[in-house]
């Protein structure tokens, strides 16, 4: 196909988006940058302090602890949900009467408001009224997610897997549906094992959607706030306080504008850098055209 025409008049078409994004992202972000270099005592008394808040944030042990927890949580979530999602997608029958009901069922957790996800797991895992909590305690294990850090982590992981594995599964299913049946026929003529079919027929075709999966899950798991807020409230102690929660406490709870703003900028940069590194290290060298 011939190349797309080049015209700068096309900027008119993207102007509405630019305006709305300027309003809902650029102005607020600049406000945060502005806060982050000032010491704000009240709305009339403020001093320019340069990069002091950034230095302080980077030295703050609570920041590094929350960062470490956040990165471990995101790594665990990705390591479990991506393979699980692929397996689920491969299990969904194609062109069968069950296909659409199954896809709808898989979409359900994605449509539940995030605080309700927290509530569902709260009432499910509580050791007094929850089916899960009561069952585990009946087996003789002293399970209490509100009192034990390990139990809190396992419950949060179980909740995140419940909530988001479907996203990976649905994306992968869409990728699988786009593979022509001739490719499978060729593989079976060559006597390929199921594993070889997956590795050499399906996986290369899935590269594009898997990149989207990893990017989306990385971004969203790094931003997680509401579900742990409802389920554990960051506790016990601060064992499940992730970056967003720490930030919300600083900004809204204690009203520490300067430090919270510096924290925000570092947080945003972290997500940008991680996504950029993933994109340039994983996607570029394979030479495969994966459109963003």
């Amino acid at each position: 196909m011939n190349a797309k025409p080049y015209t700068n008049a096309a900027w008119l078409g993207v102007l509405p988006v630019l305006l709305i994004v300027a309003f809902s992202a650029v102005i607020p972000l600049m406000t945060v940058v502005n806060y982050s270099v000032q010491d704000i005592l009240d709305f009339n008394t403020r001093y320019f302090v340069g990069f002091d808040w950034y230095r302080e944030t980077l030295r703050d042990e609570r920041f590094s602890a929350a960062l470490l927890r956040q990165l471990s949580f995101s790594a665990l979530v990705l390591a479990i949900e991506i393979p699980l999602g692929i397996a689920i997608a491969r299990g969904v029958p194609r062109d069968s009467k069950a296909t659409t009901p199954l896809l709808i069922l898989l979409a359900v957790p994605l449509l539940v408001p995030w605080n309700v996800v927290g509530t569902i797991w709260q009432i499910f895992a509580r050791p007094d009224i929850g089916l899960l909590g009561v069952s585990i305690n009946a087996l003789g294990v002293q399970y209490n997610y509100a009192g034990d850090a390990l139990h809190a982590w396992l419950t949060l992981l179980a909740m995140d897997i419940w909530h988001w594995s479907s996203l990976v599964a649905l994306l992968t299913f869409a990728g699988l549906s786009a593979i022509p049946s001739a490719n499978y026929a060729a593989a079976s003529l060559d006597g390929a094992s199921p594993w070889q079919t997956f590795r050499f027929v399906e996986l290369p075709k899935l590269a594009g959607v898997l990149v989207i999966c990893v990017l989306l899950r990385t971004m969203d798991s790094l931003m997680i706030y509401t579900e742990p807020f409802v389920l554990t409230g960051g506790g016990p102690g601060s064992s499940t306080t992730f970056l967003s929660q720490h930030l919300a406490t600083m900004a809204v709870g204690q009203f520490d504008l300067g430090p919270a703003a510096a924290f925000s900028i570092l947080y945003f940069l972290l997500i940008l850098v991680l996504c950029f590194v993933f994109y340039s290290v994983v996607v570029r060298p394979t030479g495969e055209e994966v459109r963003p």
Partner: protein, 268 residues
């Protein structure tokens, strides 16, 4: 991974999805005394009292109405600005187009917690605080980049020869766009609406920060009710069940295009 193993994983996962949901439904049909009394796999004395509490209390009803109004507003704003942009990205090259597209996507990576304070100040200054419009505009932070992303995928898959044929047939730009191009991409519009709806409906942090007493969303009514009356688990669960219903209705309408939509129009 053999297909039999994958099939087993699928069924196990479906059970894993359904059991917590069933438990929510189960508790919503029981009185608080019965809930506190212990585990009942099937409610011994099912009651709809929790639901009637919600339907007769205006606080709950208003919560639902507020949430739906900002979700609908947000979906309309997002579609209105994203359609021309996505069409432009799919049909033309221009100075800085690739950078602009990536820059839009970076907004999808911004943690909402970062924007709490500036949003609060910005909307208070403009007098929008505690209105559905404030939440709708704030949610544009992630729904607009997502909409452009999805629509651009679908629009690029529509051959450009369609545009040229319409011009050769003597149709005006406006006629072509509204009577030919958009109807051809009905599925894409439906899928995009679905995603705007979904992400705006499930978000709580911004919605909670930007609303006061007048336009409290349903999710906030839920969290406040728990803290106010202690342990009204039955009503909480009934509200939880009801918040899942709008999502189910919307997903039913886009069921055929669900898989393609989740791949953001980029499967082939």
């Amino acid at each position: 991974m053999t297909s039999r193993l994958c099939r087993a994983v699928l069924w196990l996962y479906c059970a894993y999805l359904l059991i917590p949901l069933y438990w929510l439904l189960n508790l919503s049909l029981r009185s608080n005394d019965s809930i506190a009394g212990g585990v009942e796999l099937i409610p011994a004395a099912p009651t709809l009292a929790n639901y009637s509490e919600i339907f007769t209390n205006p606080v709950w009803f208003n919560g639902f109405a507020n949430s739906l109004s900002y979700v609908v507003l947000n979906s309309l704003i997002s579609l209105a600005v994203a359609i021309p942009a996505a069409y432009t990205f799919s049909r033309y090259r221009f100075l800085g187009d690739k950078h602009l597209f990536f820059w839009l996507l970076t907004n999808r990576m911004a943690p909402p917690a970062v924007f709490l304070l500036p949003f609060f100040q910005l909307y208070s200054t403009l007098g929008l605080f505690d209105t559905p419009l404030a939440v709708a505009l704030a949610h544009c932070l992630f729904t607009v980049p997502l909409s452009v992303w999805i629509l651009e995928g679908f629009f690029s898959a529509t051959p450009r020869s369609v545009d040229e044929l319409a011009r050769l047939d003597g149709h005006t730009r406006g006629y072509f766009f509204f009577r030919i191009f958009l109807p051809m991409n009905r599925a894409a519009l439906g899928v995009t609406l679905f995603f705007c709806f979904m992400f705006s409906w499930v978000e709580l942090l911004l919605a909670r920060t930007l609303t006061g007493s007048d336009s409290k969303p349903i999710a906030v009514v839920m969290t406040r009710t728990v803290s106010a009356s202690g342990l009204d688990w039955g009503v909480l669960c009934a509200a939880g069940v009801l918040t899942i219903v709008p999502g189910l209705i919307v997903v039913y309408f886009v069921r055929r295009h669900l898989a393609a939509g989740f791949a953001l129009g980029r499967v082939s």
